[in-house]
Amino acid sequence: MSLTARVAPPRYLLGQALHAAVQALRAEWTKFRTVAGPSWLLAGAVALTVAVGAAAASAVRCQSAKCGIDPAMVSFTGIDPGQAVVAVAGVLAMGNEYSTGMIKLSLTAMPRRLTWLVAKAAVLTAPVLAASALAVAGAALAGRLILPGHGFTPAHGYASLTSATDVRAAAGAVLYLTLIALLSLGLAAAVRDSAAAIGLVLGVLYLFPIAAAVVSNPALDRHLDQIGPLPAGQDAQATIGVHSLLLTPWQGLGVVALWTAGALLLGALALKFRDA
């Protein structure tokens, strides 16, 4: 083994690694698209995000010019439940390998475990990105159709809903959902059990804002809203009062990305150093 490694030209090694990566991507993509579950889950995430967003837009009223309600945050209310479904998709992408015992076969076929993990993450990213874009576009469209009838008019200071800020908020929402799917994948790889992983992911997502709501110490409250992925991600989706937010939109997304990177790192370490 070591002999081959020494005599082989470096270019060949690189090519081999690249070849393995392409193989892994193709294999994982075949796995992903030939199972019905993920498609249903992503379709469900889109439907839930749009439906709840439309319901929130129908429920809200802006009575005066100073109502201070962020139309983007209203339209994107559906992301609160929608991200749970996206998280399930992320958790199952890895969790199903363990629950079905498929993991042994996968790792036999693809001994480069980290390459395999990267391929899995990449294969998850593409459809989740597409579904998130669909969900966010649908929610934004619903908001755009419903909100002007509920007091979100130019007279109350809501000009158009397609300014650069709105596009940035929508992009922030799409990236947020994608990062959540990858966070879920990483945690599932780390704990290797779907139920425990989804509990962990939803705990990380929902418990920070709930804790912030019940904590009365202002400093602690601020920190909880800064480090929690859900409130940080919401800072990336805001369109009004952006300057008074705790984090700038890209900082907010950065916090979520840190969580995702941490989870993927944990998953990679567990995968590399533990028996499957």
């Binding site: 809200v60 109502c67 945050m73 998280a87 139920a195 989804i198 509990g199 929902y206 009365s216 202002p218």
Partner: protein, 534 residues
């Protein structure tokens, strides 16, 4: 091939092994021998208890003109209840027993409807439902002292109220007489003091009296102040620019005042002080046989957003419930989904062919585990949390032992029913990740949504019925109301917001909503379990 009857080999099903409790015992063995599940339940208890230390960190949060400042002291009444006690009191001292009678010939008022150009409140004629004027016997003129009063209200008829939290309607409070007193149709009120007992009477003509209520004010001093009062009432309207105490001004006109003691002349006092943010202090006008009293303010419990102190609700000690719910939900769902994943369900159903009983046994075990975990966690959380919260000052509302017991047992029930719901959903969908997600989304997420636009976050009106809207009324999260430690009062039209610990449903009603979800899910799980192949 010949067919022959084969007697299956195996031990016969003894009556003992056929019993339901045998099945429960088997399921309990399954549960307790999985180390991860036992650890998760311990995490549930630890999370609820440990969060107390975070939730009870209550540094002062009031902001004055020059930055953070001490919160204004919240006046308290008998029994330590926080009170609103700001009104105009025309009084004279009376020692020993006595009777005061008066006819209210007019109750009018002004309500704030907006802001004038110079920023001053713009007032228009009008009354709020609990604007009030009447007669009162009060221990002294300081805020929070014991009292009993008979009054005419804006649209709630004649009432007898005492010691801030008590309210009794007078007989025949028809819509016609609601606030609609006039010189030709006055309302006669009478208060009789006999030792510590005060009795209120009401009459349409000053001759035929009807008993409204009687009460004992413990430790009432011999000399008290008796007289006339008016209060606009605490009313939270969106027009209110000052403190909600001062949105409405009520004016009462009194005639035929009868005192059983030698009259000494009226002294006027703005209870709560003349400069307590009041736009115009209360006034007293006397003319031949007529006394007119006008004032903002209210005499009422300080619940909801009328509470101005920095005391905390005891419910805060149980804020970690969500943290405990998540591991419990995971375990409860896995209690059945793990059987499907490992194929153990086929063994279980072979051993217990009556599928409904298997489900019932599992529900019994997981429900009991959830109940005990909740009971232990809530007991620990209150034991640790109460002293921690008391460090910051008195609680926002004194909590009786009975309420504490309801909070503890209710938390146990909340967790038990959540566990059964997770088990049922797990049986229905047979996949752990999906089951866990569904249950967390219906139990934990609604609390988050309740702060958002879905619940109609703008307080549209005011009055009892706490905040949170439908997310906390129709989802299993409604059960959180069993932890509510602060009361609501029909006679106080404040806003009762979720952030102050008010839920939209009554404690047991909220728990019943969660039970209904669990029962429906269990019924569906039972049907599917019987119908489907395992």
């Amino acid at each position: 091939m010949t067919t022959e009857t084969v007697t299956p080999h195996g031990s016969p099903l003894t009556p003992e092994r056929d019993s339901f409790w045998y099945l429960v015992h088997a399921e309990w063995t399954k549960f307790r021998t999985v180390r991860g599940w036992v650890i998760a339940v311990l995490v549930t208890i630890a999370a609820i208890t440990a969060f107390v230390f975070v939730a009870s960190d209550v540094s002062s949060s009031c902001v004055g003109p020059g930055g953070p400042s001490a919160c204004p002291a919240q006046p308290t009444g008998p029994g330590g209840v926080p009170v609103v006690d700001t009104f105009y009191f025309a009084h004279q001292p009376v020692t020993g027993n006595g009777t005061i009678t008066a006819a209210v010939t007019s109750l009018t008022g002004q309500v704030e409807v907006g802001l004038a150009g110079n920023g001053a409140p713009q007032m228009a004629p009008g009354l709020e439902p609990w604007s009030k004027a009447g007669i009162i016997i009060k221990e002294n003129t300081s805020q929070g002292s014991a009292y009993a009063a008979m009054m005419v209200t804006g649209s709630n008829g004649v009432r007898m109220q005492w010691d801030y939290v008590n309210d009794t309607p007078g007989p025949g409070k028809g819509a016609g007489e609601a606030g609609g007193v006039s010189a030709s149709a006055p309302r006669w009120l009478r208060l009789v003091r006999d030792g510590g007992t005060i009795t209120g009477y009401d009459s349409a003509d000053g001759t035929h009296w009807a008993l409204v209520g009687t009460t004992t004010l413990p430790g009432l001093t011999s000399t008290v102040q008796a007289g006339l009062f008016a209060a606009g009432s605490y009313y939270d309207s969106r027009f209110c620019t000052y403190d909600s105490n001062f949105c409405t001004r009520a004016t009462g006109v009194f005639r035929h005042i009868g005192l059983s003691w030698p009259a000494t002349g009226w002294t006027g006092t703005n209870v709560g002080g003349p400069n307590f943010g009041v736009p115009v202090p209360g006034t007293l006008r006397q003319s031949a046989g007529t006394i007119t009293v006008a004032s903002f303010g209210d005499i009422s419990p300080a619940a909801g957003n009328a509470y101005g102190g920095n005391g905390q609700s005891l419910q805060r000690a149980l804020a970690g419930t969500f943290f405990g719910l998540i591991p419990l939900i995971v375990v409860a769902a896995m209690f059945i989904t793990a059987e499907y994943r490992r194929g153990l369900i086929r063994v279980s159903l072979t051993a217990a062919p009556r599928r409904g009983r298997l489900l019932a046994a599992k529900a019994t075990v997981i429900g009991a585990v959830g109940f005990v975990a909740g009971l232990v966690a809530a007991t620990l959380a209150l034991a640790v949390g109460k002293p921690l919260l008391l460090r910051a000052g008195p609680l926002a509302w004194p909590v009786s032992l009975l309420t504490e017991a309801r909070m503890v047992v209710g938390t146990g029930a909340l967790l038990a029913v959540a566990a059964v719901l997770a088990l049922a959903i797990g049986t229905i969908v047979r996949r752990s990740a999906l089951a866990v997600t569904i249950v967390i989304v219906v139990i934990v997420l609604p609390y988050l949504l309740a702060f958002g636009p879905l619940s109609g976050s703008q307080p549209q009106g005011s009055g009892p019925g706490g905040g949170g809207g439908w997310p906390l009324q129709i989802t299993p999260a409604a059960a959180l109301s069993v932890q509510q430690a602060v009361p609501q009062f029909h006679q106080l039209l404040a806003v009762y917001p979720l952030s102050n610990g008010y839920y939209p449903l009554a404690p047991w009603a909220g728990l019943a909503v969660e039970c209904a979800w669990a029962a429906a899910a269990l019924a569906l799980a039972f049907l599917l379990l019987r119908r489907r192949d395992a």
